[in-house]
Symmetry: C2
Subunit: 229 residues, 2 copies
Amino acid sequence: MSERDEFELNELELKTEEEEISGDGLLLPIEVLLSSGIHIGTRMGMKAMEQFVYRIRPDGLYVLDIKQTDDRIRIAAKFISRFDPSKVVAVSSRLYGRIPVQKFCEVSRTVAVVGRFLPGRFSNPTSTDYVAPEVVIVTDPSADRQAVTEAALVGVPVITLCDTDNSLQDTDLVIPANNKGRKSLATIYWLLAQQVMRERGELSSEETLSVPIEDFETKLLEPSEEVFE
Amino acid sequence: MSERDEFELNELELKTEEEEISGDGLLLPIEVLLSSGIHIGTRMGMKAMEQFVYRIRPDGLYVLDIKQTDDRIRIAAKFISRFDPSKVVAVSSRLYGRIPVQKFCEVSRTVAVVGRFLPGRFSNPTSTDYVAPEVVIVTDPSADRQAVTEAALVGVPVITLCDTDNSLQDTDLVIPANNKGRKSLATIYWLLAQQVMRERGELSSEETLSVPIEDFETKLLEPSEEVFE
């Protein structure tokens, strides 16, 4: 990571989200979204992600523009809902993304690919675990780089959750979001599932998903049995 | 436009496209694409567009990565083909984009909105020229800013041809391309029309559009009758 990949936002004033963001028309009340941390980025800002950054905190953390995250979840859902569910594949190799992806796929009847992504999965029809998606949703383009590369290789549209430290290479549609936090991932995938169901007409635009957000969250084990990646 | 909006690519070596780009699997032979100038950007490089830049010429012109342009035309076509043609709107206010957009819409049976974009067109149902698109294709997000803003306001996915000097604000899917040249615009919209027809199954993947690219080009008038914008 060289110096030029980082951008500066010195001129942005430091504001507090609660004061400045109007929560009108968001998919969830602003307090709920903020408390899930979907807007909390990293300390590294990639240039291509600058357009989604709202401000930089005094401690150096980039904060994403929650309105744009909300907008992109809606747009992504419009796109995803146009495909046969069995041709939509959601991917997460990292631990905290697995339950959210599995729940998303269960609710939306799409295909989950979690855990280690074996090369050839999207690109080699002779692989025993071969799948031929028509659209791929990726949780973390760094951790899931192989999935992104193979989807691009076979010409499949790629939707990715992108944090401020992610590269947008081979990403077609970006959902700017904290793609590392347990609660954030649960919230993003829950909102996406709900919005896909609404776009398909399986839920009305006022109805909410019957499954609670908590079910999309990776549960923490007791400290004695905690698993570290 | 402040200094921080421009990026530097000093470390990129200067190469000639013909030597370096392998034309394998592009939608048209590499020589045809290069001669249409779809890869010729401007002297201004917006940070968010850096990911699509291939090199910077000695004269300071940014050159786009033609492979990515080709890829995004395919992805955009996959997306567009999923919508009812009558709900797909292509927009160009600037002169050189009008004929390409009109031809694209004629071939793909989608809706052309060319010339001056009156406020309210996408957002005010009482306007006499109101249209309610489900996806919008924009030729130049600067010249067509009003269309982009209104599409975002009503939550419609926006696909834009973006040059190196364009902002990606409110753009959901980018087709990186020279969106100023007469030949470039003809080529991009011709390729997009062909690819949409292929994705719909109205053309096979080997068939080419029966309408030649030249028909997508804005004709220059004799110097005596030339119209300046």
